[in-house]
């Protein structure tokens, strides 16, 4: 769904959600900035009008006009040019004082009530970071250079909905994801115990258990659910669903805000120097962390990292993507490692003024050799087809299934495929019934031959994150039969003159043989045989009455495991 959005709207996605009360938010969400950085020409007309509307409203943000709240977020990142534009807009607005108080109140009401249309999922799917480059292809050169360099460092990214909670959500999601990636289930228990023991910190900060327990329950509950799911392998899915459930993620974000507040209050000395505008830590927590609309700021990100990530051994990396020119065209990079413990993982954030997304490096995923099965990426589909035994036939003149020879299309093979199949020998028919794709009528199979792209059946999503416990070689052999060999059998027998071999239609065959090497006489007499006294895992052969009637060859080759 993200793919279909036009480039220009994609850029405005980050801009829109903030436009409500965010003239001071910084360039990224700033309507005034829009004209500098994004060339409003690229925006749909309606959005341009929005920007104009807000510019005129911005004018009323005069100190004398008390009703309008003035958020002071990311003020520092506002370029001088933009600030000048603000002032000019303000002057223009003050030049028309004929607006009555009621009109202003009406405008104020409208401005308060206006809720931007927030686009996109709360947490998006992981996508190749080249998409960011495309998104900025029509932006100004600084962004173009920076985003072009991005995919070299970070292969993937994940969007987080820009509804004012993105920073909190991104860190929370990254935390759980890093725990899942650590692939160490004791880590979850450790973390649960640690977070439960936070009650001391809450007490010290003067936060009553009544206040936080609901939120803590939800967060710890998710931790527990993921821990339970770690064995079945759908932990990532559970995490993804939880963070896309508005209520659940609200609870978790509030929990993160609570532990941040508690931590800041109990370590006030460490954080007080970083708070701007002369606020105390208590005031800061009250006004800039706890309120539902409070975005994360660096003064809040630091304690959140210290209380949530560092003790868990998770590092935090923040990459700035803004208009500040850098020599190397590289993105500014801030890395916060945990103080003492070994790093379990790293939460990587992409920061664009006012907005956070999640970044990934290639090394963040379990590395596997069988890349062609690992990704459901269009580039890799060809390989799967290769294995499925289709493409090699193009080497034979007129022998391809994908582009069948004229002679195949005419005559019985094309016209009467139903009878063709029913005429094939019995074992193959059994195979047809077993393979799921055979649910289609046989005529559909003929159709598939003419449209090569439908031949590809994508790998099931679980395979994207196979636990890295198995040896790569083993994986190649074991995963192939599931995905492709069944298919190969199907196409092989549906396609006419080629007769399927047992390798193609017997599901268990590859697996069986991969585990049990061929038992030749040479092997049996070597020390590689466990029955040989020189084998380190020596296990004498036992006589089993059941085996007595099985001949030596079949025992060794086919029917041992079948």
């Amino acid at each position: 769904m993200m793919n279909r959005r036009p480039v220009a709207t994609a850029a405005s996605y980050y801009h829109l959600p903030y436009a409500t009360n965010s003239f001071a938010h910084g360039q990224y969400h700033d309507p005034a900035f829009l004209s500098v950085g994004y060339r409003p020409l690229h925006l749909p007309l309606q959005q341009q009008q929005h920007s104009a509307e807000h510019l005129s409203l911005a004018g009323f943000q005069d100190p004398g006009f008390q009703l309008l709240q003035q958020p002071s977020v990311h003020q520092h990142s506002l370029p001088v040019r933009t600030r000048l534009q603000h002032r000019r807009a303000a002057q223009e607005a003050m030049a028309h004082p004929q607006q009555s108080e009621e009109q202003l109140a009406e405008l104020q009401k409208l401005s308060n009530a206006w809720e931007p249309e927030v686009i996109g999922p709360l947490v998006g799917p992981r996508e190749p970071s080249t998409k960011i480059t495309t998104e900025y292809a029509s932006a100004d050169p600084v962004y173009q250079v920076k985003t072009a360099a991005l995919p070299q460092k970070y292969s993937h990214y994940r969007t987080v909905r820009g509804d004012g909670k993105c920073g909190w959500r991104a860190v929370g999601f990254g935390y759980f994801e890093a725990l899942i990636r650590s692939d160490d289930s004791t880590k979850f228990l450790f973390e649960e115990a640690r977070l439960r023991s936070m009650s001391n910190v809450f007490t010290a900060a003067g936060i009553d258990s009544m206040v936080y327990e609901d939120f803590a329950d939800e967060a710890l509950g998710l931790l527990r659910r993921i821990y339970d799911a770690a064995h079945t392998g759908d932990a990532t899915e559970i995490l993804f669903e939880a963070f896309n459930d508005e209520t659940v993620q609200n609870y978790i974000i509030t929990y993160l805000k609570l532990i941040t507040t508690a931590w800041m209050k109990t370590n006030a000395g460490d954080y007080a120097p970083w708070i701007e505008n002369g606020q105390t830590v208590d005031e800061y927590c009250d006004h800039s962390i706890m309120p539902i609309g409070a975005e994360i700021e660096s003064a809040g990100l630091a304690p959140l990292k210290d209380v949530l990530l560092s003790p868990a051994g998770i590092a935090l990396e923040v990459h700035y993507l803004d208009r500040s020119p850098t020599d190397a065209g590289d993105i500014q990079n801030y890395y916060f490692g945990p103080a003492s413990q070994p790093t379990v993982g790293t939460v990587r954030l992409l920061y664009r003024p006012g907005h956070y997304d999640i970044l990934y490096k290639n090394e963040d995923f379990p590395q596997q050799v069988t890349t062609y099965l690992q990704f459901a990426n269009p580039d890799h589909q060809d390989y799967v087809q290769n294995i499925a035994g289709c493409d090699f036939m193009t080497a034979i003149p007129g022998g391809s299934i994908i582009n069948p020879h004229q002679a195949w299309l005419s005559g019985s093979c094309y016209g009467n495929s139903v009878s063709d199949i029913s005429a094939t020998p019995a074992p193959i028919q059994q195979c047809v019934q077993r393979t799921p794709a055979a649910v289609h009528a046989p005529s559909v199979i003929v159709h598939q031959q003419l449209q090569p792209q439908t031949l590809y059946i994508p790998a099931p999503p679980q395979q994207l994150i196979t636990p890295p416990t198995e040896l790569p070689q083993e994986l190649v052999i074991r995963t192939l039969p599931q995905v492709s060999l069944a298919q190969a059998g199907l196409h092989g027998q549906g396609a006419g003159p080629f007769r399927a071999s047992p390798w193609q239609y017997e599901d268990g065959l590859m697996q069986a043989t991969s585990r049990m090497p061929l038992q030749t006489t040479i092997f049996r007499n070597s020390h590689f045989n466990t029955a040989h006294f020189n084998n380190p895992d020596f296990q004498p052969e036992e006589w089993k009455p059941d085996d007595d009637y099985v001949t030596t060859t079949s025992k060794g080759f086919r029917h041992r495991n079948g």
Partner: protein, 152 residues
């Protein structure tokens, strides 16, 4: 629903230990989202002796959106809109200042505190606010009049 569980708990708590001068009931027993509060005017204020009916409407998203507090009894107060809605919106009740850990007990305490000490800087009725600031005696007289007229 997690939100509902919390509301139920809060309602039980508030019944067992209601804030001073407040009685809380549910107008419809199966509707936990609409509370009715009867609040006595603070004894040290111009509203002493009055009984005010308030409606507390909890949004579906509660506790992630603030409750909606409105006076059903007319009241002469700079922070309460002088119309049939009698709505009140200040401080922690604003959508972006609301904190999810806040409870309705605290909201009611805030309302009562605002009755005792109006906040003219945050007024929804600028006229009444001006009177409160500049002609305190006239304000007191009007407020008391309204109490005896509507809130007895």
């Amino acid at each position: 629903m997690a939100g509902n569980k919390r509301i139920m708990k809060e309602f039980a708590d508030i019944q067992a230990n209601s804030p001073p001068g407040c009685t809380i009931t549910l107008p419809k027993e199966d509707d936990l989202l609409n509370w009715e509060v009867t609040m006595d005017g603070p004894s040290d204020s111009v509203y002493a002796g009055g009984r005010f009916k308030l409606a507390v409407a909890l949004p579906k998203e509660y506790p992630f959106k603030p409750p909606n507090v409105s006076f059903k009894t007319k009241i002469y107060h700079p922070n309460v809109s002088n119309d049939e809605r009698g709505s009140m919106c200040l401080g922690m009740l604003r959508a972006d200042e609301w904190k999810p850990p806040n409870k309705i007990v605290e909201v009611l305490k805030l309302v009562r505190a605002v009755l005792a000490a109006p906040q003219p800087e945050d007024a929804v009725e600028p006229g009444i606010a001006n009177e409160y600031k500049n002609e305190r005696r006239a304000f007191d007289k009007n407020a008391k009049e309204w109490v005896s007229k509507y809130a007895k």
